[in-house]
Symmetry: C2
Subunit: 175 residues, 2 copies
Amino acid sequence: MLQDGYAAVSSRSVAAKVGINAPLVHYYFPTIDDLFVAVLRRRADANVERMAEALASEEPLRAWWRLASHPRGSALFVELIAAANHRPALQAAVGDYAREVRRMQMDRLSSLLGEYGLDPVELPPALVAAAVQGLAFALVADQVAGHDTATDEAHAGMDRLLDRLEARRRAGSAG
Amino acid sequence: MLQDGYAAVSSRSVAAKVGINAPLVHYYFPTIDDLFVAVLRRRADANVERMAEALASEEPLRAWWRLASHPRGSALFVELIAAANHRPALQAAVGDYAREVRRMQMDRLSSLLGEYGLDPVELPPALVAAAVQGLAFALVADQVAGHDTATDEAHAGMDRLLDRLEARRRAGSAG
DNA sequence: GGGAAAGTTGAACACGTGTTCCAACTCGGT
DNA sequence: ACCGAGTTGGAACACGTGTTCAACTTTCCC
């Protein structure tokens, strides 16, 4: 799926990949949509867990960013989101997942922004959450597509920004 | 394409849409890839122009944001980017376009960040550009997919943030 | 061991796809 | 009138798709 895009996923192609034949994948996943939804759910559940850990960790923002900007993980979600475009069942599942994660992030941010020295009025949680996620997606998407859009610079800039923010939070909690 | 996703675009479907039949679309666009590339280029050229205007306008950041967060425009690009996944020719064209736009944005930002009272060291142009674009994409994508991820809140927050930034720039240029 | 349940397969159906070939048509210029 | 270039349409090819069906094999329980 990461190699050839979601469009290359068919009952026969995945059957060949795992050494069985087509009808058997329909035995386990009656519909191809079911297959996609299962893949999404598996990955989504794992990610919700990891996101919870990240947000509860020592350096929440950095951990969140590391998770969000992880190439393989995000690339798969990009693919699934694209596939969801014309697959209502998958689209609904993606929506559920997006809503859950977004809620987690916003809840945590509401108490976290102050610690990082950010004004929650100037930068509301909904905006920060969407920005972090969107930025990560943009960078990952450009990276996997091979577009040369200064992603290195952006990544480096984000790392430095995180250094400063996490330092500010440490200083605040210490003082 | 916006209704049914890029996967619904076939020689026959577009032929039916314009009241001709399939071989004729191959007469004009020998390959379906050519069709996609043509659509991309048309839209991309228009967008490059609009982006140039936006960046040169009275309130560059707000204009940029308005352009980037425009639902129909961005939704089409989301679709094209997804389609590009397994269409090398289209992918290359998307890359060219992304690179051009990103360069425009970064060039302008390098002289603009200071005017907005932002530190170009703390927030390098590459990061800001990717963030704006990524945020817009995330919001538009969630919106068109119907995911309820507090996009209203995020939009409102961004509007207020832009108000403050543009005000700051006005004040700076006046004083 | 027997029989039921679970698992697995080959063949096929109907369909939509990109694309090609060729015949037909339109239409402007001479 | 006619001819040639540009344009359009019908039919078809080979292919991959989702899915179903009936048959076969394996596994497991009694």
